[in-house]
């Protein structure tokens, strides 16, 4: 019984700081937002996906994920046709923008409203994809 109590005390001493650190650590990783997906998960799928670039057109023109379609709220009507023809449930849609932007979340939200699915937002955006594909 005494040993059990000691084990419990040691566990508490270890778990409490761990919980505090997990909750309030300044470098705690941000929790994924709605429909966010990690690039490692996409890679592990080993299946085709439809990339959607939600950055401004000049950024897309400069460089983009191979095969990605450009779709942003500035030129929604110009970009949506190709997206709806290519997306009808057979491939996941993965939307990305820059690292610190929310255009991808807004485009993803609008695509879901249109009934297209599944739609994900790439966590970390274009910069993460670039790091993953040096």
């Amino acid at each position: 019984m005494k040993v059990l109590k000691q084990m419990l005390a040691i566990a508490l001493v270890a778990i409490l700081p761990a919980l505090v650190s997990a909750r309030w650590h300044p470098r705690r990783p941000a929790p994924p937002g709605e429909g966010e997906i990690e690039i490692s998960v996409v890679r592990a799928w080993k299946k085709p996906v439809l990339w959607i670039d939600a950055r401004p057109a000049p950024d897309y023109a400069r460089e983009h994920v191979p095969g990605a379609l450009s779709l942003n709220e500035d030129a929604w009507d110009a970009g949506i046709s190709e997206v709806v023809l290519r997306a009808n449930g057979s491939v996941p849609l993965i939307v990305y923008c820059g690292a610190d932007c929310n255009a991808s979340a807004q485009v993803a939200h609008r695509l879901r409203q249109m009934g297209l699915q599944p739609v994900y937002v790439l966590k970390g955006g274009w910069e993460t994809w670039k790091r993953d594909h040096p």
Binding site: P56, G67, N72, E73, W76, D77, L85, S90, M114
Partner: protein
């Protein structure tokens, strides 16, 4: 900064006031925005110590609704603060609730009408027309509840070919620059026949 445009606004402007709190002149080299919908203008480039200035940011609403977040990056020659990030949140009221905003048919499916329900979110707004942007689709506007609820029936002329069309829902609000909103229609390949990107 949080902005609350009205239903009739087509743009909103945010003013960011600042002053050079340092002991040496600072130049603002450039101001960049995260979206083509946002443009920033600056009174001038160079600011002496203590001098005040203002960055004016214009946001075009377009067909956006709901919460929008935009960033403005201000680049300076101050080695202590080379870049200042301004954030802007815009809460855009919904004028029309369109459900679903997209109707589709599979290739070969019967070319029968599909329905879009349009709910008006203000008594000042009426839907006056549902205009198909392409000959490939026909659209018909019906008023279900006077001035509040409409039905748009969309029918493809044929489902033998892939095609996408826009259905423009024209309102009478505001009277000087009536706004319109889009729904979409498409004839698509069956899912099993879609090729990978």
């Amino acid at each position: 900064m949080e902005l609350h445009p009205s239903m009739s606004d087509t743009n909103v402007v945010a003013q960011y006031a600042f002053h050079n709190g340092g002991t040496y002149p600072v130049a603002i080299d450039s101001v960049k925005t995260s979206c083509g919908c946002t443009t920033a203008t600056l009174d001038k480039k160079n600011y002496a110590p203590g001098e005040k200035g203002e960055i004016s940011v214009n946001f075009d609403i377009g067909q956006r609704v709901g919460e929008q977040q935009k960033e403005i990056m201000v680049f300076t020659n101050d080695p202590r603060e080379m870049m200042v990030l301004l954030r802007m949140k815009i809460l855009i009221p919904e004028v029309l609730r369109i459900a679903p905003p997209f109707v589709s048919w599979e290739k070969g499916e019967a070319a029968q009408a599909k329905s879009i329900r349009v709910e008006v979110m203000s008594t000042n707004v009426h839907v006056v027309a549902a205009l198909s942007g392409a000959d490939a689709f026909k659209s018909e506007l019906r008023e279900i509840t006077a001035g509040h609820e409409y039905q748009v029936l969309v029918t493809p002329v044929t489902t033998t070919n892939q095609m996408v069309g826009t259905i423009r829902l024209q309102t009478d609000f505001p009277s000087d620059r009536p706004r319109s909103f889009n729904a979409y229609a498409a004839v698509r390949e069956k899912a099993s026949l879609l090729s990978a990107p």
